[in-house]
Amino acid sequence: MIKKEMIAMLLAGGQGSRLGVLTANMAKPAVAFGGKYRIIDFPLSNCINSGVDTVGVLTQYQPLRLNAHIGVGVSWDLDRNEGGVTVLPPYEKSQNTDWYTGTANAIFQNLAYMESYHPDYVLILSGDHIYKMDYELMLGYHKAKGADVTIATMAVPMEEAPRFGIVVTDEESRITEFQEKPAQPKSNLASMGIYIFSWKALKESLTALQDVPGCDFGKHIIPYCHEKGERIFSYEFSGYWKDVGTLSSYWEANMELVDLVPVFNLYEEFWKIYTHFSAKPPQYISAEAHVERSILAEGSEIYGQVIHSVIGPNVTIGKGAVVRDSIIMEECVIEDGAQLDRVILADGARIGAGSVVGTGDYAESTFDKKVYASDLTVIGEGSVIPAGVTVGRNVAIWGETEPADYPDGRLESGGHVIKGGSRA
């Protein structure tokens, strides 16, 4: 019998729709972060660094990129004879076949996977947060408290508390009350969406609530456990933790890595973040190039200027090009003389020679006001912008655009060109 004390279930099926064209054809956990990483690398690395070597990754929305990234888990040492990483998509059953309708429903549909490891504890993670956390310490806490459920929480500024799921605790950190996005928060401890369940409590609650439509941990399972009188504790985490759910928070979190001494330090030896990566060549900075206040990943060739930016692997920035306050992901090409200011350029995009992207004043988005609400211009995976055009701020572009898409060679602030997705 295979026996694992604790296994992890990583929820990676969500779209992350507020990242706009960045998640047009990949799930949010697969979006690049910090130059060479992808968001899912953080929870996966935390798992192996915490000694959790059995991880089920639940995928649903646009899983191709995520599957390719995870592979057999070699990059995280999660290729194991027993356990390791297993990608768990929804599957057809003899009856009641359904997509994953909610976070808890997704876990319920994989009860058999969990049971095959006979776990005492199950760690529930989401694949869209940037943080380093030792789950082993959290498990120690869970055991010491004799808890049925432990929820990782974090103190947030009181004025921001209404944006979060808030927990109210007694003096022993036992949770006495839950408030979902409360107008009048009674505490400033926000749930991080990280749970440890004792196996019995998890199985019982999932089974009891299996017919609840869209069964969700925060909305259904935790309140159910609470009403039943299970021992639910708050594990207060004080390190760096960032939800990169919106374009501006995603941009900010990336830019924090560039700071002289970043709050979130990737250069520490004892808690490495691993990613799917083959050995890549060194980066080349040419004689006429200028690079300042930036981080650059392997294999990039810089002939122009890079100022306060995050540059991914194998990027080419041509002569006379200027990249400022921008995030440039893997394999992008910025041709000679192009200028980028506050741009997020997704994998493999190409900016034509002399084009100016991110200029002028902010204007409200004509495309999606909820998603595009900052002065960042976002260009989706594999997009092409022709030479010599001018693109404003708060613009969304996805697809291989042509000069005809830019009347008078211009795309004004707040505008959009969406030509991608025809393949899907």
Partner: protein, 371 residues
């Protein structure tokens, strides 16, 4: 692929000075992100050679560490694998490898028990990309007994550290002169050979009977008139790193966009052990020009026309010019370095001023006070 691979990686060379004090030549860091042996292993792997033996002896620990897993080069399969063979004490012998032919003799069982008809022998210090399928096709086409991969070195190259090859008009090798005082021609042997497995066994056994140990002088040179030994001319980049000067120049060659395009931007790629270092960070005040930087470096000072390996730290106001910094070098504030090679894990303290000459590169190998 109808061949097994054998990488000769056991030798030392005094002309590497301090650089080979703690590592084998084949384990020398190369081009920022690699080690010398990666080029041979990647070429073998990309050519679909499945069984590869690495014969190690001198400072083999460094190489063993680099080869701690064969997965990086896509070996380690049920069919095939990467084998490390240091000299070993047996019932018959307790000798070190006394030469290249002797090292093959001591591992004759590996060669005998393979079933592939050909053997590719290469040295671990060559920097190149080569499709061995092409060499093998040439070998068969020529009806050669042994094929020696050769390179016509650019004009002006000092070939006195190589084996210089003379051929007839059909590329049959007439003469090989090892490390000639006065070289006649610029065609040099790359130390890469293709030979039929049965013939190799026969020649190696004969060598052993006669107490001969060297592949070049006792097989290639000795048999050149009775065996058909042919030269395959390699067109693309090749160099070997047997001296400090050659090591410096070969690394600096990667500042040339053509060399980078050949190695980095065209398939197949060069594989190496993966270290998961974070991106390289350029802090305020950093100035970097015409340089290669591997992952995990933090730059506060000036770097010009230099190659920085992984995890180097450059302090405020320091200037690094025409230099090579191996892995994990720490340069304090206000340091000036020119024409230097700084050995891995060295610490150069604040304010130091170390200058070598273009024709006499200074090797800096400081003990690391951090360990």
């Amino acid at each position: 692929m109808k061949a097994i691979g054998i990488v000769l990686a056991g030798g030392n060379n005094k002309r590497m000075r301090e650089l080979s004090r703690k590592r084998a030549i084949a384990a020398m860091p190369m081009a920022g992100s690699y080690r010398a042996i990666d080029f041979a292993l990647s070429s073998l792997s990309a050519s679909r050679v499945k069984r590869v033996a690495v014969l190690t002896q001198y400072n083999s620990r460094s190489l063993n560490e680099h080869l701690s897993s064969s997965k990086w080069w896509d070996f380690g399969r049920k069919q095939g694998g990467l084998y490390l063979f240091p000299p070993t004490i047996t019932a018959e012998s307790s000798d070190w490898y006394r030469g290249t032919a002797d090292s093959l003799y001591q591992n004759l069982d590996f060669i005998r028990e393979s079933h592939e008809p050909y053997v590719i022998i290469c040295s671990g210090d060559g920097i190149y990309k080569l499709d061995f399928n092409e060499v093998l096709a040439y070998h068969v086409d020529k009806g050669a007994d042994i094929t020696v991969v050769c390179k016509e070195m650019p004009e002006g190259t000092d070939v006195s550290r190589f084996g210089v090859v003379k051929t007839d008009e059909n590329d049959r090798i007439l003469q090989i002169e090892e490390k000639p005082v006065q070289a006649d021609g610029r065609l040099v042997s790359c130390g890469i050979y293709v030979i039929r497995r049965r013939l190799l066994i026969e020649l190696i056994e004969k060598c052993a009977e006669e107490d001969r140990y060297d592949f070049v002088s006792d097989i290639l040179i000795r048999y050149r008139t009775v065996k058909n030994i042919c030269a395959y001319r390699m067109k693309s980049y090749w160099n070997s790193i047997s001296t400090v000067d050659a090591y410096y120049r070969t690394n600096m060659d990667f500042l040339d966009p053509e060399v980078r395009r050949h190695f980095f931007k065209t398939n197949p790629e060069v594989f190496s052990r993966v270290f998961d270092n974070p991106p390289t960070k350029y802090n305020p005040g950093s100035v970097v020009r015409d340089s290669l930087l591997a992952s995990g470096c933090i730059i506060n000072g000036t770097v010009e026309h230099s190659v920085l390996f992984k995890k180097c730290y450059i302090g405020n106001g320091s200037v690094i010019k025409n230099s090579i910094l191996l892995d994990d070098v720490y340069i304090g504030d206000g340091v000036y370095l020119e024409n230097c090679i700084v050995d891995g894990h060295s610490t150069v303290r604040a304010g130091e001023h170390i200058v070598g000459q273009p024709d006499n590169i200074r090797v800096v190998a400081a003990e690391d006070p951090r360990i």
